[in-house]
Symmetry: C2
Subunit: 320 residues, 2 copies
């Protein structure tokens, strides 16, 4: 039975990772850690869970946990992942991305354990994208434009140094936009879904949503496909290598909104709220998942229709 240490355990992706192990009948012992209080949720047949509240900015705490638990795998999900927050407080955002990563990877280096780590990064690393060069492959140039993105590229550079020079066993991702049931409504698709279900549950047939730029196109991947990719990367990825984790296709926010409205059976009109338009956003972000497909056989399995139905159900109870 393998032992997984999961940082940022209280978040959206951590819970789905546990569900993935359970549903795949993979016996596992999990220690979840998070700055926020959390419970381990429901009981499972294949997965045993513990939880500890820990601040990853505290080097001693993470060292102690690592030596006590002696994980085979570390899934490093903890991050301060809001680009908007990084604009408001770049220093705090940087500390809670780069510095916590550094504490963790240094603790692994010093532990003498054979632990393998997944260093989860972000497609934000690509930054300013030349549209002629889509979809983005792992060799595409990185040009971070936000404090959050700069922190992610820093993490990736240091991941490579730790893997290549210190021999720490880690695999690196550039993860594109996740969607799925359980995601907080500070993220755009969840926010749309929540508002649509509020309109529906108020018995109305139509409503108005204030939105940012709906023409931006993103590469959305269901979180249940994301966690499957993370499991494969942790157990079979190539050490020191970067992998895009993405669907390989793009759709606009307007398309997603229209599809969700159709599923919910209501009509949505939109009103542009300039405050929701991000000034330096790329219009189009689409990644290539060729590397992870060819090396590990991973490809997305959940259709967008299924994702959006499940997200709407999450926010509003059963759809009729």
């Amino acid at each position: 039975m393998k032992k997984f240490l999961i940082t940022g355990f209280s978040g959206f992706v951590g819970r789905h990772f546990v569900e993935y192990l359970e549903n795949s009948k993979i016996s596992a012992q999990i220690l979840g850690i998070d700055l926020a209080e959390s419970s381990t949720g429901r009981s499972y047949a294949y997965v045993s869970q513990q939880f500890k509240q820990i601040d990853l900015l505290c080097e001693q705490e993470i060292e102690r946990v690592l030596l006590e638990f002696q994980p085979d795998y570390v899934l490093h999900l903890a991050s301060c992942s809001s680009v908007a927050f990084s604009w408001k407080n770049p220093v705090l955002s940087f500390h809670n991305n780069m510095n916590i990563f550094l504490n963790l990877v240094e603790a692994i280096r010093n532990s003498g354990l054979k632990t393998r780590m997944l260093s989860v990064g972000s497609s934000e690393a690509y930054g300013n994208i030349n549209r002629d060069h889509l979809p983005l492959v792992e060799e595409s140039p990185l040009d971070p434009v936000s404090p959050y993105a700069a922190a992610r590229v820093s993490q990736e550079m240091m991941s490579k140094v730790y893997a290549e020079a210190y021999g720490v066993d880690l695999v690196i991702t550039r993860s594109f936009n996740h969607i799925g049931p359980g995601q907080k409504d500070i993220f755009v698709i969840s926010s749309f879904a929540k508002q649509i279900m509020e309109i529906k549950n108020n018995g109305r047939k139509e409503g108005v949503l204030a939105t940012g730029d709906l023409e931006i196109m993103r590469d959305f991947l269901d979180v249940r496909d994301v966690v499957k990719a993370y499991y494969l990367l942790l157990t079979k990825g190539t050490k020191g290598r970067v992998y895009n984790v993405c669907s390989g296709t793009g759709c606009t926010l307007r398309e997603v909104l229209d599809e969700m409205a159709a599923i919910a059976g209501i009509e949505i009109r939109t009103r542009l709220n300039p405050a929701l338009v991000r000034p330096s956003d790329n219009k189009v972000i689409i990644g290539s998942n060729k590397r992870i497909y060819e090396e590990l056989g991973w490809s997305p399995t959940i259709t967008r229709q299924q994702s959006l139905e499940d997200i709407l159900n999450y926010w509003g109870g059963e759809l009729v």
Copy 2:
């Protein structure tokens, strides 16, 4: 009279910057800050100096100093610049490079001052170099291979974010190897010079030096040319832009050693000490100074012969 805040003031470059202002008859008020205790040194006619002992890891301290002194220019020299140290303690090295930079630039952003900053970086940012593409120009790819180099690239990325998105007025350097009188003997040329002058001052005509790989070629620039470049970049550089600060020519460590031995009039034999050979070092690093020459008219003025004489004098009193 312009006000300069100089971080890392107790170091080699800070002192030479003050000398440059004085020798150029540039009236200036200087506040030097450093983690280490320091004196302001001798009195000058054109330059007035104060010193404060400050830890740049303390955000509140740097904010207070900035608001009290209200500098026109910030010359950010403070760094933990040893690559070797960064291998031994990557976390501490990172904090004392990237995090102190971040505290400083964030304090400038929040201050509302029109302060212009020089974000001093390193040629280490280039990392693994393709020898077919020498000399290195600012557009050359960055591929940091040490924790120190990764911190420097992080600083550079965040410098660009602060300049482009927040409008903080800063200019960025990639500074190549400095040499000159006053540099500590943890750096290779100073170490050679010190040992040569010890041999000479013991009345011997020959001696043996333990060295690392003497065939590596570097782009050495006299610190007095470096500080002139920094003054020009601070006062006339283009906001948000990166500039190589380098001589534009390379020479091997063996050439430098032979030239110094000749100046001192002694014979040196060398013995390879494997502990001094860095495993992942580039064989050749040469930069192009075309950009800073074309934009600001800067070029090196001190010959290598002059540099080496001054360095030997620094370590051993007057040469005969």
